[in-house]
């Protein structure tokens, strides 16, 4: 994943903030200049007043005509009214997907499926700015992240899996890979378009058709993607998008016409979904919560580590399942590390997601902001020490200051529960064994970070981390070729890479 643009040379705090001590200006000095606003133009994207469901290649109203509002979390303004899909609509979408799977997509040679996927990748690249602006407005993420990370990676996923569509025989030696059929895919609000790409690209490459339910706070990029499907002349019914509440998603999960369920979201909902498929033959993959340890040893290059820690927890407002939310620092370097972190935090710019200089945008929803606020309060109540840099937050919108907790015990809620916000809990360790024990002391196992200059120590720690992705001397990198997914209650199955295809095929003997 492209770096979070947070290097100290290019981002500067508002005048009200103190300068980092590393600048040699003396602690607490006001910085004598500030950034002018640099908003990305929003007229690149046309937002409709109303959006229908995308079923069988057409936009249709929901059964009963219900709608719900999607809100720009940075302004609290309603962006559009979106169709409130019901179980009746879920059923219609599954039938459309089934028809397409048996009549067009499933029988189409891999070579031809590939070309459709390449088309989609190209259109996403061509319309990247439109998608970036829409994504930032609907989700609250900074434009530089949607522009440099979400949208290019989404296009790259379609590009990567396009090439697999006619090469499945090479991915599964000795087997014939058959599509599973119709996949129900339920995605979260933190990376709306990127999660759509992670789900749809491998499914389509393997010959499945899909019904996708976007998160109810971030439906717009998926609906714009429906427009891309039309532009690509994708056969009707191959991709169906049903917006609506959680019950509609559950109606998809339990629908008899579904062969495969793929879900990304919280562990709590993941368990409900696993129960929803219990006793059936439906295939299931789950990408759930995390509470990653980011372990910094005393020989780590501290300045690089600080960048990695900041990227690890403040990237996308910390609304990242693999966020490095627990910093495990070796005792001998805790003080200099925390000093550097605090300095670095003072340079982070929080504000308008559409401003090209913004590092931390808006929290996705009022509900999420309340959850973060409540967990941070619990950290204070349980005795951890709170640090937040001085920074002005916009008057409107859902914003939260980058937050750092020291003196955190493993038993604190902020060390155990997934906060899904810009909140870092600092714990310490003395020996590698203690680091391993603390890092693995969680029900989650999605990701981990290791910072040390010693190669043999990296490899040993890699082996001992109960985590599906381990970043050594880096953090929060993503790539379509790189499998992603969790151990333990962070879920099962992998997305990305050749391994990501497994989730969408049935293997038959040659």
């Amino acid at each position: 994943m492209a770096r979070m643009a947070t290097d100290t040379t290019s981002s500067i705090v508002p005048a009200s903030d103190r300068a980092p001590s590393s600048w040699g200006m003396g602690d607490g000095q006001a910085i004598p200049w500030e950034y002018a606003p640099a908003p990305e133009a929003r007229d690149i994207v046309t937002i409709q007043d109303r959006y229908g469901l995308f079923i069988g290649g057409r936009f249709v109203p929901a059964h009963g005509g219900g709608t719900f509002a999607t809100v720009n979390p940075a302004t609290e303004e309603t962006m559009a009214l979106v169709a409130r899909g019901t179980p009746v609509d879920a059923d219609k979408a599954v039938r459309a997907a089934r028809r397409a799977q048996t009549r067009s997509w499933g029988t189409l040679p891999g070579k031809e499926r590939a070309k459709y996927l390449f088309r989609i990748a190209r259109i996403l690249q061509e319309r990247s700015r439109e998608f970036a602006v829409l994504e930032s407005m609907d989700s609250g993420k900074p434009i530089k992240e949607s522009r440099d990370v979400d949208v290019p990676l989404a296009a790259a996923h379609f590009w990567y899996y396009a090439g697999w569509a006619d090469k499945l025989d090479y991915a599964f030696p000795g087997r014939v890979a058959r599509p599973l059929g119709v996949a129900a895919q339920i995605i979260p609000w933190n990376f709306p378009l990127l999660m759509l790409a992670w789900k749809i690209a491998p499914a389509l490459a393997a010959g499945n058709t899909v019904v996708l339910k976007p998160a109810s706070t971030t439906p717009l990029s998926a609906l714009l993607f429906a427009d891309v499907c039309q532009q690509a002349d994708l056969p009707p019914g191959v991709v169906n998008i049903v917006t609506g509440p959680g019950e509609t998603g559950m109606a998809l999960v339990t629908h008899k016409g579904i062969d495969k369920v793929a879900f990304t979201g919280s562990t709590e909902i993941g368990k409900r979904i696993a129960k929803g498929v219990a006793g059936t033959d439906k295939a299931l993959t789950l990408e759930l919560g995390g509470k990653a340890a980011n372990i910094v040893f005393d020989d780590a290059p501290l300045d690089q580590a600080v960048e990695g820690i900041v990227n690890g927890i403040y990237f996308n407002q910390g609304e990242v399942c693999c966020a490095g939310s627990r910093l495990l620092a070796q005792e001998s370097i805790v003080e200099p590390l925390i000093d550097k972190l605090k300095d670095r935090l003072s340079t982070i710019r929080v504000g308008d997601p559409l401003d090209k200089n913004t590092d931390v945008g808006a929290i996705n929803s009022k509900g999420q902001l309340d959850k973060i606020t409540e967990l941070v309060a619990s950290g204070v109540a349980e005795g951890a020490e709170l640090y937040q840099p001085a920074c002005d937050l916009p008057d409107r919108g859902y914003f939260f200051r980058p937050t750092l907790f020291t003196n955190v015990a493993q038993s604190h809620r902020i060390a155990r529960e997934e906060i899904f916000g810009p909140v870092l809990s600092v714990l310490t360790f003395r020996t590698p064994d203690e680091a391993v024990e603390k890092a693995n002391n969680t029900v989650y196992g999605l990701s981990a970070g290791i910072w040390t200059d010693k190669g043999s120590r990296i490899l040993e720690m890699v082996g001992r981390m109960k985590a599906g992705v381990v970043w050594a001397n880096t953090f929060n990198r993503f790539d379509p070729t790189s499998p992603f997914g969790g151990y333990k209650e962070s879920g099962f199955g992998r997305e990305g890479g050749m391994h990501g295809l497994h989730a969408y095929v049935r293997l038959e003997d040659r």
Binding site: A278, D281, G468, V469, V470, R477, F484, F492
Partner: protein
């Protein structure tokens, strides 16, 4: 009256490398396929399941840490030891499954060969399932399989030896520790296999074998928070949904028999259907590692 009275065998549980009776002090009568009483088997309790899981958890790290080649040799040795007891296994399969002696000998031979087939995967599965990934940035990125942890195996009900071996070997060769529920009506070959394992080089606790009632033990195994994965092949159809609901509570990995496959009619002699690297992969986790290049 015969010249010599037989010394009958007591069939016990196999937990942590020892052969305890069930802590519950219960047993149930096991009969041959033709109805002849064979022996009293232990009717394991929920506490026996918990003890077995504890031993499996303790044994897991050491087993997973063995070199792949070593793990392969240890499992190959199980085949060597079974080879020396072919007649005993054949006799037990005859009584348990009602097969003719020739068919039972074939079953035993195939079970031995299946150990050999799976043992050979130990140092190959990582190369077949692992990958180095060409990411579009200056990072070295690779993916390696690792064992999931403690696996509960509900062994096939009908195929008491060959089916059991076919489902036990895959999680083992992957490096997992196993708590196995033997066939309920045909548990005796499993206990004899445990005696082979006890004298092999498979470390104590890596395989634990319980006999008893499915309806009583499967929910305990499925609901145990320290069991990471479950092979539900032998779960009776009427327990299937309940088992999977319990397993969902802590996101257990499930290796399920398709509802389209009837347990009793599955052909365990079919090598193509039963010698599958996918069965090993079901008990592996993929770990992906990134490191910057240069700098």
């Amino acid at each position: 009256m015969a010249d010599r009275i037989d010394v009958r065998k007591t069939y016990k549980l196999y937990i942590g490398g020892a052969f305890p009776r069930t802590e519950s002090g219960r047993s149930y009568l096991v009969s041959a396929a033709d109805g002849t009483p064979l022996a009293n088997a232990c009717r394991a309790s929920r506490k026996d399941v918990r003890d077995a899981v504890r031993f499996a958890r303790t044994a897991f790290d050491g087993w997973a840490a063995k070199t792949a080649m070593n793990r392969g040799q240890v499992l190959y040795r199980v085949a060597e030891l079974m080879e020396g007891r072919r007649e005993q296994f054949a006799a037990e399969v005859v009584s348990a499954e009602g097969l003719r002696p020739a068919a039972a000998r074939d079953v035993v031979d195939r079970a031995i060969d299946r150990w050999v087939w799976y043992a050979g995967w130990a140092d190959k599965i990582g190369q077949v399932l692992g990958s180095s990934n060409p990411v579009a940035a200056p990072y070295f990125n690779f993916t390696i399989p690792e064992p999931t942890g403690v696996v509960g195996v509900v062994a096939p009900e009908s195929s008491s030896l060959l089916g059991l071996v076919s489902r036990l070997a895959p999680p083992l060769v992957a490096g997992n520790a196993v708590v196995l529920l033997a066939s309920e009506r045909r548990p005796l070959p499993a206990v004899t296999l445990a005696e082979v394992l006890a004298t092999s080089d498979v470390p104590a606790g890596v395989v634990n074998v319980l006999t008893g009632y499915r309806a009583e033990l499967v929910p305990v195994l499925a609901g145990h928070a320290d069991v990471d994965a479950l092979d539900t092949w032998g779960v009776p159809d009427d327990l299937r949904t309940e088992t999977e609901l319990l397993a969902a509570d802590d996101i257990k990995r499930l290796s399920r028999r398709s509802t389209r496959i009837a347990e009793a009619r599955f052909d365990w002699l079919d090598d193509a259907a039963t010698e599958r690297p996918e069965w090993i992969a079901a008990f592996l986790e993929m770990k992906t590692v990134w490191h910057p290049i240069g700098g």
